[in-house]
């Protein structure tokens, strides 16, 4: 079954607006990560965040482990934030990452 669900599937913002991306996962063994996929294809790790809140620049990730959810907040969005954001977690000791289907973000000027 679907182990990672992301919402929304797509999002269009005006530059300067904030974005809130959601991730719900089926396992309590999290090791949750957020990735950003450039339009060209490379996946870049944004956060490794199994629990709590982490910040980097305009990005904030909050994971509530016992509620099996995580969020990614983008403040003051820029056109360069456009791309696809993936949530993924490791559900076993063998390191498999289970990915969600992603949220496609488009930021227009």
């Amino acid at each position: 079954g679907q182990q990672v669900q992301q919402s929304p599937a797509s999002l269009v913002l005006q530059e300067g607006e904030n974005a809130e991306l959601q991730c719900n996962f089926s396992s309590t063994a999290t090791r949750l990560q957020w990735f950003y996929q450039h339009p060209g294809g490379r996946l870049v790790s944004l956060f490794y965040n199994p629990s709590g809140t982490k910040h980097t620049g305009r990005l904030t990730s909050t994971t509530v482990t016992n509620e099996r959810r995580s969020s990614l907040h983008i403040s003051s969005s820029q056109t360069t934030d456009s791309g696809t954001y993936f949530c993924a977690f490791r559900g076993s000791a063998l390191g498999r990452l289970h990915f969600g289907a992603g949220t496609q973000l488009i930021v227009i000027p």
Binding site: G40, R42, S92, A93, L94
Partner: protein, 114 residues
């Protein structure tokens, strides 16, 4: 160098022909992974090596092969390409197989089968 390198960047293959994709990393990571990514879909794990041990996913077991002759290098081999193999293939590595460390992904190889 903290990057994962993939070659080639783009690959065109004929139906029925073999395809070999290459990945390397010099971070001395224990584990190397291959994912398949199609448009509007989640990356799908195909297989991974933990050290010299190959683990293949059950639903792709017969379709993909791999080799890891040394810690730095890992290949993905398709014996007979079909149209459904057209996708982006992403290689990744991590320092271990279970603890909290990050994955590092390569830029991917975009395969088109015609």
């Amino acid at each position: 160098d903290t990057t994962v390198k993939q070659n080639p960047r783009y690959k065109l293959a004929r139906v029925g022909k073999p395809v070999n994709l290459i990945c390397s990393q010099t971070m001395n990571h224990d584990t190397m992974y291959w994912y398949q990514k199609k448009p509007n879909q989640a990356p799908k794990l195909l297989l991974f090596y933990y050290d010299k041990i190959l683990n293949r996913e059950a639903d792709t077991f017969e379709k993909f092969q791999s080799s890891r002759p040394n810690n730095s290098f890992c290949s993905l081999y398709i014996g007979s390409a079909g149209l459904e193999y057209s996708a982006m293939y992403l290689c990744a590595s991590s320092p271990d197989q279970g603890a909290g460390s990050d994955y590092t992904f390569g830029s991917g190889t975009r395969l088109l089968v015609i």
